[in-house]
């Protein structure tokens, strides 16, 4: 139990610290690298929550695809990486206050609620069950998601391509 708690605290510090660096770093490229670190920390949380498939997907999709895509976009617009450029807008103080206020409200509310908790273990073959559910009762949403991805893919290509 002690190991579990220690790992949770380390992951929390890494994830939240990297996330803070993402939103405060002056250099957008550093932000993107910290974003990768934060995604890896979230994958660690998924491992702690005994969802290994989701952890693998998190690494593949977020670290492997989305973060790399963001780095590509930063490099394609690289003039904007300049150090002297102001990255914060005029309302950042109010944004920070608003975010802190929301965090306070969320924590106070969350702690007051007595969430029902089940002391059951995750079944041994949870990944098998996940696959069978995706191909069984959830096959229609699964196909809808694949159509969504196809539409997004084609749309992204058309939006980003050079005009002739």
């Amino acid at each position: 139990m002690m190991v579990h708690t220690t790992v949770f605290i380390v992951l929390g510090v890494v994830t939240l610290g990297a996330a803070l660096a993402v939103v405060t770093s002056k250099n957008l490229f550093h932000s993107a690298l910290f974003l990768m670190l934060s995604f890896v920390g979230v994958a660690g949380f998924y491992v702690l929550l005994e969802a290994p498939f989701l952890a693998a997907v998190q690494i593949l999709v977020y670290v492997g695809a989305i973060a790399v895509l963001i780095i590509f976009a930063i490099m394609l617009t690289r003039r904007l990486m300049a150090e002297d450029l102001v990255q914060r807008n005029a309302q950042w103080v109010w944004s920070a206050l608003g975010a802190l206020l929301l965090f306070g409200v969320l924590v106070v509310t969350l702690v007051q609620v007595n969430w029902p908790v089940v002391e059951a273990a995750v079944p041994e073959d949870s990944i098998t069950a996940l696959g069978q559910d995706l191909m069984g009762p959830y096959v229609i949403p699964f196909e809808a998601a694949s159509i969504l991805l196809l539409v997004a893919l084609v749309g992204a290509v058309i939006i980003a391509r050079e005009e002739e």
């Binding site: 979230v42 949380f45 695809a65 914060r88 950042w92 079944p123 996940l130 939006i159």
Partner: protein, 103 residues
């Protein structure tokens, strides 16, 4: 001290609020997208934490998280394509300068 559901919820709330601050305070469209990604990750932590602590025997929670992943991937692809298209046309990705509709 064992890790409980509350710990995950609080971490996810913190991650969400950090992402919200990023979305509200960045001038660069790519920076805003990074904030959105952080918020989506916070939501996924919540989904999986509730799954693990409330219904670990059925896979619905994980499947919900998988669909959130899918939508996040589509959002990132289209969002970054839009940023690149705007950069081509206007030579900027600073949100305050993209205000043709206002003029």
């Amino acid at each position: 001290m064992a890790v409980t559901l509350y710990w995950y919820l609080i971490v996810a709330a913190a991650l969400f609020c950090i992402g919200l601050y990023g979305v509200l305070s960045r001038r660069n469209a790519i920076g805003i997208l990074m904030g959105v990604e952080l918020m989506l990750n916070a939501v996924n932590i919540n989904l999986l934490a509730f799954w693990r602590y409330q219904t670990p025997s059925v896979m619905t929670g994980q499947i919900f998280a998988i669909f959130a992943f899918t939508v996040a991937a589509a959002e990132a692809a289209v969002g970054l394509a839009l940023v690149i298209a705007i950069y081509r046309n206007r030579d900027t990705v600073i949100i305050e300068d993209i205000n043709q509709l206002k003029e």
